[in-house]
Every structure is written in structure tokens, then in C-alpha cells.
Symmetry: C3
Subunit: 357 residues, 3 copies
């Protein structure tokens, strides 16, 4: 695979140096000087690559691996074949991600679209905007009045930052992104075509049709948040919409006005969270869920894919389904539904209709 | 909360003036000269704010309120604490929205990204386009051949208006929006990254794969429509796609070719409406619904969130669920499902698996 | 209907010429010289229009048609009324689509936003980019370093092509589209605000919150693919994300990292496909489906709308529902649910609650 076109290999680092950076321990000192240059999956890693084996399920691939080195737990170390350096780590995937940050640093933030440094002459920047040295505003980007942008942040070509918005340091605001009425911390990544801070969706019946309830809140995005492509986050109505530190949001997610999401949450693609709902810290919501408004989801709760959550969810639980319920009951219900559907299929009838499995 | 950064307070208006503008009646004339400057929620409103109490559920907050004035129904007027001016209104939320339009007029339409007036020299405007005096086309916006744009409309930086499209007066076309093959009325708001008028999704098997059925219809958007961020509305195949007057569409909604939506409908985020379906007037569809193609939803029907609507829906009903059915049956089914899931939870087992409530 | 504003009629072509181009046979030679200029639906077609009747359901409209010509199967030819030319075709809709390509060629590809030819001086093009003669890069488009763009391709105003991306010939990259880390074939259409090639969504717990697993794969889009508005396709993690030749993807679809979609598939709006799932050739997935990660869907399988697919799906089947199951069982379950909901409604109670049908 010609991956070099986009992410060329590192100049090389020794396993002794790399293991230290990743919190791993080299099992056999003879490999301490071995040089690796890239990350690769277990099945394709060559002698200049580092890879990982996440669990016993990876054993067949591990035994045939020709990798330069592999992150494994202590338990699996004896399964590493001769010629492959074993790097013992408590959490091999985490060690691998840390190795990736060393070997492919360009993949840790979106690449710039242009080779601009500083503020492009072809950017549209209001004279009252304050842009720190070391920030990049690419050609065609729009920066409104009273905006402030911190050092190390990149405003991509085609992005717009509306009046008064504050953006911290080392952020990446992607192409076609719109940010308005927002206060954004440091190390925030917003992927292309996301929309942050437009009006929340609130109307009341008026004398001649629906009238808008003014939406005068803000969007507050804390440090180390990442927001996916075409995700939409509305600003608050009278209060704020808040995305807590370290939370990661995937593509095409809808976050309505006044939603408050805690720290280190994970929200997978196409999920929607209705207005005024609160998520605690460490909440994980899988893809395609519909989360009702005005409810609370407790710290560390996990919601399975395509779930419909109507009421409060306690901390620490795993729920799934429509309506959402504890995971073991949900799985039992799914197993029953599958048994009904697949257990005794009337194959004659199904074949007639061209619908057999 | 520092809301002043984005929506600074009004210079002030007396309650006697404001109540007249909102169709409300001041209960106690001693407050007629009191000046209010901002809107706020009941729990945070101070002496210079106006707020509202929507129902008896708000009574605890109302009793402790320090607001300058509060919209209430006549029934609740006696519950307004001393020092707070009661403004009697038939529909307090509507009166409050009208007050918002007076006190925060800048929140009634999206803010401009730049301080442009008229057509920016950095906009890309075809010489055959007709742009009325008083319209704004910001830097970087694209206006194609034969486009017409009415006075008071704002085409944001980064928006594109394709050849032949007509846009009426006092519209806002947001950043990164694309509008093609469309006829748009007056007072229409389109939020960022919405896509209006691209090809409907129609193919037939051809000699060497699928071939496109030409999509030669239009999108017609009537007056006072609002369209959310990243919402997609395809143009018609041989007929038109129509969005009726006053209809409000949230973010990430999909409207397929030939859909006809009536007047004053509300379509909440992430709902999709398949091709050639017709909605009457005043239809409300909550979020994350999938509406089948070639069906009819009658005037005033309401569909609950995450519903799957396969067939016609009569006027005036409230349906929900997958498949959609009358609301009372749906709620009974949900109650039964919840009783099964939560009624007699085997807490030992659940705790073991870390899934208790 | 004033469709001429966007798609003016053809100068005219005789039925003998047109029938040859569409693989159809003119039933009555007296009409061989008749000229048609436009396509229209059966109900509105006039003497200068061509239309089609897809099945016996169209008979009432066919009998009253005043079309210049109509594509029909041999079986229906005798039902064509006097004065209307019958064009016999094995698949009337396909013949009609082919006629559309002749009569409305401008509808087969998105219209350009500007009248640019070649590379606009107002485009932002890196000096190392290679743009073939005959390609168009509109004002405001961004083309990064080492990008290559083939003849006949149009990069719309407001699109961005990231460093190193290759785009073949006769492609259309729409307004506000972002393409990164991608290899794109010929005759590919990408509609507005789609995002191609941003990071896949992969994190692991790190020392101070979630850390990104570097996403160093690519997006490979083969010939004749069409991608809808605001659709998001993430690049691979360590492998590639692949969209096979001739596959058509609708609006607001999410394709996660490492997904491999075969040839000539159809994916309808708002469906999401989680990471590392593989689709065979000719797979059809209706709208609003959630497809699990790490599963396989066999060649020619069809999935009904709003389905939840958790496990592998065999080739050739038709499945639907949550969880997805064979179509006949699904339809039986829906019929039972509808019978329960609608069979014996307690109308008194329903009326009381305003929820009757």
C-alpha cells in the first residue's frame, strides 16, 4: 500500500527510545537498537514497522508476523515469534497510539490546505480581530470583528469565525466550518463543514405563524475536544451549550441548544441529543442514537448503537435498544427476536419470495 | 454569565411600552415606568430582565424570582412575588418571544460575518445577476448567472447561489450554503452548510451500471421558512420539491426529491423524508424520524421522535413508534417494555455485569 | 411549470433518432419523423415531450396522455392511445433515463457555479499541483500541494482538495466539499458540503484523557461513483476506505474508516456504516439504517429502511427491521404490530385524548 503519498515514514527511532516514550518495556535487550519508521496493522507490519496485538484473538496473526516490534501484554509476550521484538505494555493499543504520535506526528492534527504561515493576505479578517503570532489564517478564511485566535491555531481556507468568538491555542478549524457565538479552548479540532453556534431550534405560535424564541446563549467548547465533519452544535437559548474537556464527537452528530456534555465523553456518528439534556463525564454514546431532551445521563454510562433514550440514565450503566434498557435484557430480547426470525424459517415460502438467508 | 459578548443589552424600554408590543397587560400600574433591558430565564432574571412562567411547574422558581417583570397567565398572576411586575398574557412564551424580538433584535436573524454593505468587491458575482439595492453579498460569496437577490437579503461569505436561482427580500443565506435550481421567497433563513437543490437520488439499471434519471425539477421555498445547518433538500425529478410558508426545518434533515411540505410545519433534527411524500399544513415531526416515500401526512398530524412512518397518516393524529401508531398505544407499549426491562430487575446479576440502574 | 429557467428544452430530435439512442423500437413508423424536445411525467407530457409508463398501474394516466411519445413494454403497447407514439423497450424507465441524457444533457452533471474555463486566477492553487488542460478550477477553490486533477474535471468554487490527492477525469467536486488523503477515479460526482478523507474516529484511553490513534489510511473512490450532499467518508486507520466503481451514495450518509463498499451499490440518505465493514457488489441499503462495524454484507443483499444490522448478511437476501431479519418475517411482524395498534382501537378513549385516527 502506497501510504507514503500522504504520511511518509519517520526517519527512524530505536526501540529503546520509542519504548520509553510509550511507557512500554522491551522484553529482549538485543533489540534495543532496532530502528522502526512506521506503524502498521499486525497482518502487514514489516521489519521497519511497529504494531500491536490487542488480545488472544490476535494470536494467529501474531504468530506469523514479520513486524520489527509488537506491543503486547506481559501475558502474551511468550507468543511473540522469534525475530520480532516484544514491547510489554499494560495497554497495547494505548502504547501503539503513543508510538503513532511519535512516528506519524503529522497525523495528530489535520494537515493544512495551503502552505500559509501567519495571516494570508487573501484571508478576510476584520481589523478588530486579534490574532496571536504563530496562528495561521489561510486564504479565503473569514474572521469577524472582535475575534481572538491563539498561537498555533489554524483557521482553514473556507472557514468562518463569527463576530466575538474566542479561539484558544493550537486549535484546527477545518474547511467550510462555521463557528459563531462560541468560546473555544485550546487543542480543539473541528473537522470540515461542522456548524457551531447557529440558532437553537425554538419557536412559539405567533399571530401569523411560528415566531423565533431569541437564542442568546453561547457554545462553550473546552480543551482537547474534537468535533466531526458536518456535526452541528446549536448555541444555547438563554443558557449555554457546553462540550466538556477531552470529549470526542464524531461526524453528523446533532447537539441541540442548552445541552451540557461532560468531560471525556465519546459520541459516535449520527447520534442526536435534544435540547437541555445533560451528560456526565466519561459517557459513551454509540452511533445513530436519539437522546431525548431535558434528561440526564450519569457519569460513565454507555449507550449502544441505534438506541432511543427517553428518560434519565443512571451513572455507570450499559443500556441499549428502543426504548433503551439494561444491556443484558436488550441482548436477550435481540436473541429472542433472532430466534423467531431465523430459528425455524419456512424455507419453501422464503425461496418462493426470493428472501431466504 | 457574560452574554453581553454576543448579545449586548438593549438601551431599555418601559414595561408599559413593552407590554403593548407583546399583547400583554401590566397587572399593577405602579410598574409601568420600570425599564427592562434583557431577557433571561426565570431562575436567573434580575431587576433589569424580563422573563416568563409557562405553567404551574414554574411556581417554585417564580416565587423566588427577582425579575423586573414576568409574563404569566391570569391564573398565575397572584403567584408573582412582590417587587416583580406581572404581565398578563394568554400565552406567556409567545409574549416572551415577542419581547425578545424587541430587546434583542440582533438575535432574530443570523449576524453578518463581515461588515460589508452592498456587494463586496471580493464577491464572485456573474455580470448577469440582478442584486437589488440594500442586499448584501459578502466577500467570497458566489452568485451565478441570471440570479436575482432582493433588498435586505444577505448572502454570507462562502455561500454559493447557482445559475438562475431567485432569492426574495430579507433572506439570510449562511456560510458554506449551496443553493441551486431554487426559487426562494422572502424572509427565508438558511443556516450554514445547508445544501439546497442538488440532484435528487434517482437511478435505473443501465447497460454498464446504474444511470442517472435526469433531475430537472426545482426547489421552491416559500416565505418565512427557516432551514437548519447541514440540512439537504434535493430538487425535484420531473416535478418540484416544495417547502411551504412559515415551515421550520432543523439541522441535518434530509428532504428528498418531489417532497411537498405544507405551511407552518416543524421538522426536527435528523429526520428524513423520502421522495414524493406530501405533508399537509401544521405537521410536526420530531427528531430522528424516517418518513417513507410516496405517502401523505395530513394537516396537523404530529409524529414522535425516532418514529418510522411507512404509510399514510391521517390529519390531526399523534403517532409515534416503529412502526408509527397512535400515541396512546405507543406509550402503552413503551410502558410494557419498560416494565419488562425494569420491573423486576435481577439486581444481583445486573450488579455482577455492572449494568444495574 | 416553468422548468425552462433551469433546464431549457432541447432543440429537438426525431423519434427515429432518439429510439435508436435509447435501445427502443418505434411501434408505428408514421411517427419516425416526430420531434421531441423534453422529458416529462406521464401526467403532464405534451406533444413535444417524451415520457414512460413503468407498469400497469400507469394505465389510467397512459390512456389520457397527450405525450409525443411514451416508452412502454411490448405488453403495454396496445394500451397507448391514438396520436401518441409507442416506443417499445424492455425497461421503459431505463430507456427514459437514456432519453433524458440526450434531451437534457446539462442535468447529467452538476452545473458550474461560474463561467470559468481553466484555472481561475482567483483560485488558490499550490505551485506543485498538476492540473490537466480542460480541467476547471473555479474562483475560491483550494488545490493543495502535489494534487493532480484530470481533464474535464470541475473543482467548484469553495471546494478544497488537500495535499497529495489525485482526482481523475470528468469529475465534479461540488461547492464547500473537502477532499483529503484520497485517490479518486474518473466520472466521480461529489455533491456540496461532502467531507472526504478526514480522520477516522479512533481513540484509546491515555494518561490524561482519550488519545487519537493516528489515522494514516486513504479514501479510494473508483470510477462513476456519486456522493451526496453533506455525506462524510472517513479515511482509513491503518488500511483504506474504499468505494467501489459505480456505487451511488445519497445525502448525509456516514462511512467510517476502513469500510469497503463494492461495485454498483446504492446507499440511501442518512444511513451510517460503522468501521471496517465490507459490502459486496450490488448491495442496496435504504435510508436511515445503522450498519454495525466489522461485519460483511454479501453481494446483492438488500436492506430495508431504518434497519439495524448487527451481524453478517448473506448474499442475495432481503432483510429489514431492528434487528434486521428476512423481509417476509419483518413484514409479518409489522402487520401484527399494526393489527394490535389499529385493529380494535378504543375510539372513545382515543377521542378523549385527541389521538384517534
Amino acid at each position: 500500500m502506497d501510504i507514503n503519498r500522504f504520511f511518509p515514514p519517520h526517519e527512524g527511532i530505536s526501540l529503546s527510545d520509542l519504548s520509553g516514550l510509550c511507557g512500554a518495556e522491551l522484553a529482549d535487550a538485543q533489540y534495543s537498537g532496532r530502528i522502526v519508521k512506521a506503524i502498521a496493522p499486525l497482518s502487514r507490519a514489516s521489519i521497519s514497522d511497529i504494531t500491536f496485538a490487542g488480545s488472544r484473538k490476535a494470536l494467529p496473526k501474531l504468530k506469523n508476523s514479520g513486524a520489527g516490534a509488537v506491543f503486547v501484554t506481559a501475558k502474551l509476550a511468550s507468543e511473540v515469534p522469534p525475530g520480532v521484538a516484544a514491547l510489554i505494555a499494560d495497554a497495547p493499543p494505548t502504547a501503539f497510539a503513543l508510538a503513532g504520535a511519535v512516528l506519524v506526528p503529522s497525523a495528530m492534527r489535520p494537515l493544512q490546505l495551503t502552505s500559509a504561515t501567519g495571516v494570508s493576505e487573501a484571508a478576510i479578517v476584520h481589523p478588530t480581530a486579534i490574532i496571536e503570532d504563530g496562528a495561521v489564517v489561510e486564504a479565503g478564511a473569514v474572521v469577524g470583528a472582535r475575534v481572538e485566535i491563539g498561537a498555533g491555531s489554524v483557521i482553514a481556507s473556507g472557514a468562518a469565525i463569527g463576530e466575538g468568538t474566542l479561539i484558544g491555542r493550537n486549535c484546527n478549524i477545518g474547511h467550510s466550518v462555521t463557528v459563531q457565538h462560541a468560546l473555544i479552548g485550546n487543542h480543539v479540532i473541528i473537522h470540515p463543514s461542522a456548524s457551531i453556534g447557529q440558532d437553537g431550534f425554538g419557536y412559539v405560535p405567533g399571530p401569523a405563524g411560528l415566531i423565533k424564541i431569541p437564542q442568546i446563549g453561547r457554545v462553550i467548547i473546552q480543551d482537547h475536544v474534537e468535533i466531526g465533519a458536518s456535526t452541528t452544535i446549536d448555541r444555547g437559548a438563554l443558557d449555554d451549550t457546553v462540550i466538556g474537556e477531552g470529549t470526542k464527537i464524531d461526524n453528523l452528530v446533532q447537539i441541540a441548544h442548552n445541552v451540557r456534555i461532560g468531560r471525556h465523553c465519546v459520541i459516535v456518528a449520527q447520534t442526536g441529543i435534544a435540547g437541555s439534556t445533560t451528560l456526565g463525564d466519561g459517557v459513551m454514546i454509540a452511533g445513530a442514537c436519539a437522546i431525548n431532551g431535558h434528561i440526564t445521563i450519569g457519569d460513565g454510562a454507555q449507550i449502544g448503537a441505534m438506541s432511543g433514550v427517553a428518560g434519565n440514565v443512571p451513572a455507570g450503566v450499559r443500556w441499549a435498544g428502543i426504548p433503551a434498557r439494561p444491556m443484558n435484557g436488550f441482548l436477550r430480547d435481540v436473541a429472542e427476536a433472532n430466534a423467531r426470525a431465523f430459528g425455524k424459517p419456512d424455507r419453501t415460502k422464503m425461496k418462493k419470495r426470493g428472501e431466504g438467508q
